[in-house]
Amino acid sequence: MSNNISIKHALKKYGENVIIPDLSLEIKEGEFFTLLGPSGCGKTTLLRMIAGFNSIEGGDFYFSDRRINDLDPAKRNIGMVFQNYAIFPHMTVRKNVEFGLKNKKLPKDEVAKQADKFMKLMHVDEYADRLPERLSGGQQQRVALARALCIEPDVLLFDEPLSNLDAKLRVEMRSVIKNIQHSVGITTVYVTHDQEEAMAVSDRIAVMNAGVIQHVGTPKNIYQRPANLFVSTFIGRSNVLAAKLAVENGETWVVMPSGYRAKMDHVQDQYRREQDIQLSVRPEEFQLNRDASAGGISATVDDCVFLGLMTHYFVHLESGEEVEIIQESSIDSIIQPGSQIKLTLNTEKVNVFTADGSANILTGVCNDCAAG
């Protein structure tokens, strides 16, 4: 039943305004695939092209071997869940869930049976005869999910389904969505701008910017080895510092303007030469030393915020660059603003990008590779 989705050289234009210039993507059968990006990056546009609500100006879209470019949206057998739930307000919960089944011209008793099954699965069966206006946002989204699932769609599409819910419900609903998807095994495309949500639910994530896919990979991979500087700063927080790459006696070193050096063992061979680089260090990838006379990058603490488990430090380097550091809170006293400290890098974790930020020069980057 389930399909893989294959997109080849998709082009989307509004008049002369190109939204998606040339996008290719393979989504595997049964996969939970997320399109993640800032607003206006074209992720919803792409999803609506798959659904058939946006015209396709170029390229080919396939569900398995079926080219769907010219297929009427009503015939694509898609289950779609919308940001505002899109529940029919003049129909009861049952009528909403049965709507798609009736369009399939199934026999009456089968319609009722199927609807019951999915209302039970989504725990909305007790509201079956209520009008949606008396349901909470979370319940409405469960109805929407039951309605989308019960037609046994080839592909399931989610357009920011949780962004209208409050924070607690969002966390609850995302595990509901993930578990349901895993149990039914329908190929799913999920759009969100919330990276934590994307990490929590996805098998693979495509990070998009300006209509171009920046990185396709597992949540772990895009966080730890982002393909370029955009992905590094968009996913999680990153301190970006200018530095140089130096090669001495066959060893590769990162050299900071202050003179601090750190050996980098896993630079790709093609990049092992002297060059300007951008160093991307996540707040937890700094090691902080209270002893100002020790080795490392000199820094001055500007502010610190104690958050229980973690303590955040805001410091500035000699070069004037401002940096955020997160440390596990320790039992001894918090470092006071104005203190001089030394910083060293966790070289295994930090990422190194070319000077223009377009590529990660370390090994282990996995952008749309088979290993996933």
Partner: protein, 551 residues
């Protein structure tokens, strides 16, 4: 996209059919009107009719009269309507709902019935006049002319201001009130600098509404004007033809009328554009108790005002049961007036009114839903021009539309004069702008994704439109439709030009009876009409499940 292209063509066909209908029933008659005004009977281009108008103060005076009385009515309606709306929205008044419902009833009644009733009360032989003169030796002065029109129209139109302003006040967020109090602005200062300033767009909208309706009102000045002749009355006089069936001068007058209303319309648009903001209250203002002397005065003001405005309708119903011969009411009660009404085409009037109302309403709803869908969901140059076209009648007085249709369809190939068809056309054109506005507003609030959800669940576009879009619009359209029904039932200004004995309506029967001096008969017709509008409005409030009216 072969399948969806076919569907697109269905909507294109709908657009074209609508456009053709508007061209035939609106643009062509308007063009005919314009042509009639500048082409003399022997086929020459001439501005003689216009120079005739502007050369005589007898003619130009009617414009001055109309402007004077209409501006005065607008101002007085605001002065009466804003305070009652303010008290109603910001204080807990006793019997507030009754006040509101009675006000709506006042605003929905046919204006000339109010005028007629006031003549019965305050006219030369009016009860109140006689009572004051004989007992207290006070002369109330004449109700005829400027004063009378001002009285009747103000009492008829202040409820419009009340309804409009109530909507605006409800959208004022309580935090704005608290913020201004925080900064030391309370009481009367806050009323003017915050509350009324925030309501400015609505004040302007209400003013335009009152102005347009008062300016176009034909019945009131016809009955009460006497020497004080207003513009619509002049148009009607000229149409009746002092010099036979030559409509040229009447057409020229109609063109001038459109010019005047268009100028007012664009002036209002310009004024509104300076107050471009919208509000939506998260925390509506909590109503305060109306206590003490102030509270007593508030109650007195509201009750006395609404009582005065509602009195004519009650008085008419009372009169309808009085014995009457000709223009003189006699002591004692009977159903004589109703028996006379049955003889005088009552059955036919009711039948015509019902047929006209139902038919016009059906056409209006279908066209309004289609246009709203085309404009909101399939915006294009073609569809937007249909929308603009459909709004034109908003600035056309009813008499002008009646006249234009008469000129266009009075002769072959479309000899429609005196048929119900031409009256349906007139009523559809008259009421369509209002229904389209409410249908468009309703559809705009419906998220597109609901229709997309239906399509993704395998529903065809036609099925989606009929099963999802239309039912979701139903509430908004239905409530608007009942108000349109009331307006259609009480329509006078275009019908008076287009009706004949066969297509006579309740409103026309009432008017004819008043005109012929059959006052008892008129009271019976008017009472039936009042009951019909009242029942319609009660249904409206039950259907829309709210005490709110959006016009």
């Amino acid at each position: 996209m072969t399948k969806s292209k076919k569907k697109l063509e269905v909507w294109t066909a709908v657009s074209i059919v609508l456009l053709l209908a508007f061209l035939l029933f609106l643009v062509y008659p308007m063009f005919g009107l314009l042509k009639q005004s500048v082409i003399s009977t022997d086929g020459q281009f001439t501005l003689a009719e216009f120079s005739k108008f502007f050369s005589k103060t007898y003619y130009t005076g009617t414009i001055v009269n109309s402007m004077k009385v209409t501006l005065a009515v607008t101002a007085v309606s605001l002065i009466l309507g804003v305070p009652i709306a303010y008290f109603y929205s910001f204080y807990k008044l006793k019997g507030a709902k009754v006040l509101f419902v009675l006000s709506i009833l006042c605003s929905m009644s046919a204006p000339f019935i109010g005028a007629y009733s006031w003549i019965m009360l305050l006219g030369r032989n009016g009860v109140v006049t006689k009572f004051l003169e004989s007992l207290l030796h006070i002369s109330v002065g004449s109700i005829y002319g400027f004063k009378g029109i001002l009285l009747v129209q103000s009492l008829k139109f202040f409820p419009l201001v009340f309804i409009y302003m109530n909507g605006a006040f409800k959208n004022i967020d309580n935090t704005l009130m608290e913020a201004s109090a925080n900064m030391g602005c309370t009481g009367v200062r806050r009323l003017f600098r915050v509350v009324l300033a925030l309501s400015m767009p609505t004040i302007l909208a209400a003013s335009l509404m009152v102005f347009m309706q008062a300016f176009a009102d034909f019945g009131t000045p016809m009955l009460l004007g006497e020497g004080y002749k207003t513009f619509p009355v002049l148009i009607y006089d000229q149409y009746l033809g002092e010099t036979g069936q030559n409509y040229n001068f009447a057409a020229a007058l109609a063109v001038i009328a459109i010019a005047v209303t268009a100028i007012v319309f664009f002036f209002q648009k310009w004024a509104t554009s300076r107050f471009k903001f919208s509000m939506n209250a998260l925390h509506p203002v909590e109503k305060k108790e109306a206590k003490g002397l102030g509270g007593l005065l508030m109650h007195l003001y509201c009750y006395i005002l609404v009582a005065i405005a509602f009195m004519p309708q009650l008085y008419i119903i009372y009169l309808s049961f009085r014995n009457c011969s000709g223009a003189v009411f006699k002591p004692g009660f009977s159903l004589g007036n109703y028996q006379a009404a049955v003889k005088k085409l009552l059955v036919r009037s009711i039948k015509n009114t019902t047929v006209l109302g139902v038919l016009s309403l059906a056409v209006i709803i279908v066209i309004a839903v289609l246009i709203a869908y085309l404009v909101v969901r399939r915006s294009s140059v073609l569809n937007n021009s249909i929308d603009t076209l459909s709004m034109l009648p908003y600035i056309m007085p009813g008499a002008v539309i009646g006249l234009a249709l008469l000129i266009a369809f009075g002769k072959k190939p479309f000899a429609l004069t005196g048929t119900l068809t031409i009256m349906v056309i007139a009523l559809v054109i008259r009421r369509l702008p209002y229904t389209i506005r409410s249908a468009t507003a309703t559809l705009m609030q419906i998220s597109m994704s609901i229709e997309e959800a239906a399509i993704s669940l395998g529903a065809s576009k036609a099925k989606t439109f009929l099963q999802i879009t239309v039912p979701m619009m139903a509430n908004g359209i239905l409530s608007g439709a009942i108000l349109s029904w009331v307006a259609i039932v009480t329509e006078l200004s275009s019908s008076i030009i287009l009706y004949n004995n066969k297509s006579i309506t309740l409103t026309m029967s009432t008017y004819v009876a008043i005109n012929r001096g059959n006052y008892g008969l008129a009271a019976a017709f008017a009472a039936i009409l009042t009951v019909v509008t009242t029942v319609s409005l009660i249904i409206y409030m039950a259907v829309s499940k709210s005490e709110d009216v959006s016009l």
